[in-house]
Symmetry: C2
Subunit: 338 residues, 2 copies
Amino acid sequence: MVTMQDVAKRAGVSKATVSYVLSNSPLITEKTAAKVRKAMDELGYSVNHMARSLSTSRTDTICIVSPALQGNSFSLSMCAYLYALSAAAHNMGYDSLLLTNDSPQALAKAIDARKFDGAILLEVRDNDPRVKVLQQTKFPGVLLGKPRELGGLDYVDSNFEGAASQLVDILADAGHREVLLVGWPRHTYDSGLNFALRFRDTAMIRARERGMDLHMVYSDNEVLGSDLAVKQALLAFPDATAMIIHNDAALVSAQQVFKDLEVEVPDDISVVTLAPDQMATGMRMPFTSMSISLNEVAKSAVEVLDRRIRGHAEGEQCVLVDAQRIDAGSVDTPESND
Amino acid sequence: MVTMQDVAKRAGVSKATVSYVLSNSPLITEKTAAKVRKAMDELGYSVNHMARSLSTSRTDTICIVSPALQGNSFSLSMCAYLYALSAAAHNMGYDSLLLTNDSPQALAKAIDARKFDGAILLEVRDNDPRVKVLQQTKFPGVLLGKPRELGGLDYVDSNFEGAASQLVDILADAGHREVLLVGWPRHTYDSGLNFALRFRDTAMIRARERGMDLHMVYSDNEVLGSDLAVKQALLAFPDATAMIIHNDAALVSAQQVFKDLEVEVPDDISVVTLAPDQMATGMRMPFTSMSISLNEVAKSAVEVLDRRIRGHAEGEQCVLVDAQRIDAGSVDTPESND
DNA sequence: CTGAAAGCGCTTACAG
DNA sequence: CTGAAAGCGCTTACAG
């Protein structure tokens, strides 16, 4: 293994000079720097991160703390987030450690081991014990999600509130009064997954303001490729003239369901959704929707964390990334129905 | 930050002794060890991994090298593998670094940085340039997949060959002669993804041996939740009495397709599949299938890598994990069709 | 059975 | 503008 010492000897300078060249110190002559760089090239030198870390107490690594997969439900957007975060981190010079054990103990232990400079918590819930670990250790961390108690921590998330209001408005503006909200399984709400709660609650409030009857329908048969929530909703509320879908699994099977029941969109029913952009393209989304850019959220999360790590942050950093409205002609006036 | 020195002072011993206690050296008296452990507890000590790594040149971290997501196609099984590997690594005392950039340069750079002890390459292809990086650097690594040129590297994968043969046999034994193989999009095969190739090619050979006409149908419209490969296959080959599905996306939408076309399984057609076990449960798979245990494959991969890292491996390690046959009554004799 | 000491490969004030 | 030196927090022969 070629070390800094080797490079120094070959270039005829000291270790310190090599180190300064590496960090592009302006104090070093261009001539010396060139000499050193040549030596590094010739020897195939690359800095030993363990040694650097010990010296600087920085690892240039962040930890992505993802919830354990409960049972067998792979969430497509979780997975997409993982990738988006890893890519965003990479772009900012960080490697990413993956922690798939969502127990608070595991997080505390990982923090103690000092293998990373900061952590991003995925799918944060209300009363998430991991959040307390972050607070107590005062370790740099950002929440992907916006739980009820923030405890002074930074967070980044999609603006679910804004998206909910906008979707309700789109339907209200078109004149719809009887609307369905197809959501996640009940346990998602019960477990405090705040993105679900924030969307539902804001939609409910906004609907009331707009004089709309919004009927909540929870998914209860979440089978890959045949989530029946949309179907159940349609059967349970035949008078509804429009539907908001906030549930990836239900969304994926929605088109099939409409076909099955011979329901035409938007002639028989208007449909709007909230979905990650990558999923929208993946399924060639035919519905007017508020589109969440996972990459944008991920990028923002890493930026916030980076600022926190470097100590460049004053006060809490709170970012809600707006979803983009995408029209796909799946909304019509209610009069056209039936 | 509390260091080993602090613990040593408090326990009234030397740093060395503390270190020996940490590594459970049998040379230390139980009395001394107890004293040291008490001091560690009281001070809340935990070892600094950066320092340890520098000293031992081990990081206790492995790198999971996953292919970049091309376009927007999230592969459910890729994601499941990520988790399974991370969990398996954790169980064996390794953390996992996630590398989502599949360029060979990125891998080479990551290896140079010495942030991990070994790497696992996901979705290895024939002629995968990452494989060459592993060979050239002689860095511990295992391939998830079995490319044509192994170059002396370790690999672990599902036994796709065995599964293909068994599925053909199941149908042949039931008397089927006209059978469809619904596979992945053509580019999957063209790009040398060997799991697809090995399954297809073995199935073809076995079919010939059994006097079966096996018609390959490639998926060409891979839309999330409505992959049409199964439908196209049925329409293109109305005489087929059975079908093998090897394509997760097609599998997810298969039930809907059968319903759409009012095709009864197994009365109208027999169906068998190859699928990851987690997916099978996720979609409540109603088809007789060869089930791949991702956890088992992942565990095996980490074990192989661990052996390689510790230098306990003699020669190449080659593991093909057998899929499990699961009967779900989706196979009948061809006579019953129509 | 325990301790003093060297070493892992960097970074960074501090002299010069 | 460059170098000698201390230090980051461990591990591990080597003495004793």
